[in-house]
């Protein structure tokens, strides 16, 4: 679900153009979530600030229920995330995994790697100067 939450809405739309019939249990709605941190990274929690989130719940033919929680305010994004969640519970799971989730995962890990490589290029290599007393 993290892969769907992080996906760019346009990309998910391109990968899942056809929308199977569904009934909303909760129509897509935009709200916010309070993000928490921990003091010192590991201590007591505190409230850092909020982020926008859009969520949706729906049922597809066959009865599978899908939930979508995605970052941002795109309602179609949340709806598609819920659809994928529902489709992954049925016979279409293999197809959805190959056609939707695998490409999203590949792109996201590619982006992560690209950032890590840029960071690696800025890693400082220290070298010790020869001391004068010898």
């Amino acid at each position: 679900m993290g892969v769907l939450a992080r996906a760019r809405p346009a990309q998910l739309a391109a990968l899942l153009p056809d929308l199977p019939a569904h009934d909303y249990l909760r129509a897509p709605e935009t709200g916010c979530v309070m993000v928490r941190g921990r003091i010192g990274g590991a201590g007591a929690p505190f409230n850092l600030g909020e982020m926008t989130v859009t969520r949706c719940a729906l049922k597809i033919d066959g009865g599978a229920v899908g939930h979508g929680y995605v970052q941002g305010r795109d309602k179609m994004h949340a709806m598609r995330a819920a659809l994928v969640d529902a489709l992954m519970q049925g016979n279409d799971a293999g197809r959805i995994e190959a056609e939707v989730l695998a490409p999203l995962r590949a792109e996201q890990s590619g982006q992560r790697l690209a950032r890590a490589e840029r960071a690696a290029a800025t890693k400082v290599e220290f070298f010790t100067m020869v001391r004068g007393e010898d």
């Binding site: 679900m1 993290g2 003091i39 201590g43 409230n47 600030g49 989130v53």
Partner: protein, 362 residues
């Protein structure tokens, strides 16, 4: 007598029309798009998200455009928008140990595991205007090197292991939330950190600077500064487990502060902590210095009477939206209030005048 008056609608409409025209500027210049602001004014966008206390790059970019680049006005727009959103819940605390790093430096340990990663920093630039940016050029490309998959643990854990760091008590207590309950004193550390995280960068910077100059000195070193993205997980009631709902960029600063011990605490290094949404290291460092200064009481330090030690002073004045709201309201019509002041001054002068006349006659 109280006289209600009405008027100004036409003037207000015309003022807003002119504002819209001024916002657009010279129509022969291309109009800024939200994407351009989001991508090329990223640090302004980050500041609006951090102090608007809402992580949404597109909305922050829109607010900056609407506010003509006035960041406090943009933060105001985001705060106002935020109040229209239902809150779905709170996330699990983000795990900054697992941050996908774009920058990570330590001023205390040269050879920390994971290394010193500079990232896209202004540090070591010459601060000379770059006139090539005035010409349309090709998009520059960053250098790349194979990434090191080794983890980069928090550097202060090294000192922690030797028992030289003040312990960090873990807890899962629900923190207080100043957006739900009014901020009241005394404020515990989680509440102070929430207020500082959304506080005005300039104000928090000045407070931090004042501690460095001697007003509540805390001898801070930047133990670690890291910038990168963290996954945000939230427990979903209808699912009964936590899922990842997105990822956000964060800047985290941990300071190590010299501490010679007090009546209650042994000599050890103490901590200041800063965590800010987006890439904002000036703010994160400032926050950790102010956090540490505000901890004087729990560490048994002396109250030097320094502004940065005064939680009430710091926390009640760090919010730029509250500050600007109260400050700017004095320019709005106060005709009736002022009328009464005028009456009072006239009466006092009349009385004083009568007194003088009487004295002269005597």
């Amino acid at each position: 007598m109280y006289v209600a008056t009405k008027g100004g609608e036409r003037a207000i409409d015309a003022a807003h029309q002119w504002l819209a025209e001024e916002r657009r500027g010279d129509p022969s210049a291309p109009e800024l798009t939200i994407v351009q602001i989001r991508e090329q004014m990223a640090l302004a966008v980050n500041r609006v998200m951090a102090e608007g206390s809402l992580y949404d790059r597109d909305l922050a970019a829109l607010a900056i455009k609407q506010a003509r680049g006035d960041l406090i006005e943009a933060i105001f727009l985001i705060r106002a928008y935020r109040t229209t959103l239902p809150r779905f819940g709170a996330s699990q605390p983000v795990d900054t140990d697992a941050m996908a790093l774009s920058r990570r430096i330590s001023a205390t340990f040269k050879d920390a595991p994971g290394g010193q990663v500079l990232g896209p920093t202004f540090d070591y630039t010459h601060r000379l205007l770059d006139f090539t940016l005035m010409a349309e050029g090709e998009a520059p490309q960053a250098a790349r090197k194979p990434a090191d998959p080794a983890p980069a643990p928090h550097i202060l854990q090294l000192l922690d292991r030797d028992g030289l760091m003040e312990p960090l008590p873990a807890s899962d207590e629900t923190p207080p939330d100043l957006t739900r309950e009014p901020l009241e004193m005394p404020a515990d550390r989680p509440l102070r950190l929430q207020a500082l995280a959304r506080g005005d960068e300039g104000f928090v910077l000045s407070m931090a600077y004042s501690t460095q100059r001697g007003y509540g000195r805390t001898h801070a070193f930047v133990g670690e500064l890291r910038i990168g993205t963290c996954a945000v997980d939230m427990e979903i009631p209808e699912l009964g487990f936590a899922i990842e709902i997105g990822e956000i960029e964060l800047t985290e600063c941990e300071t190590v502060n010299q501490f010679t011990g007090s009546k209650t605490e042994p000599p050890q290094f103490t901590r200041g902590y800063g965590l800010v949404m987006g890439q904002s290291e000036r703010k994160a460092i400032s926050m950790s210095l102010v956090d540490r200064a505000l901890r004087w009481a729990e560490l048994g330090e002396d109250d030097m009477g320094a502004p940065a030690q005064d939680a009430e002073f710091v926390l009640y004045h760090c919010d730029n939206i509250q500050a600007t709201g109260f400050l700017e309201h004095i320019k709005l019509p106060h005709y009736v209030d002022f009328q009464s002041e005028l009456e009072l001054i006239r009466k006092l002068r009349r009385d004083a005048g009568a007194e003088t006349c009487k004295e002269a006659a005597e």
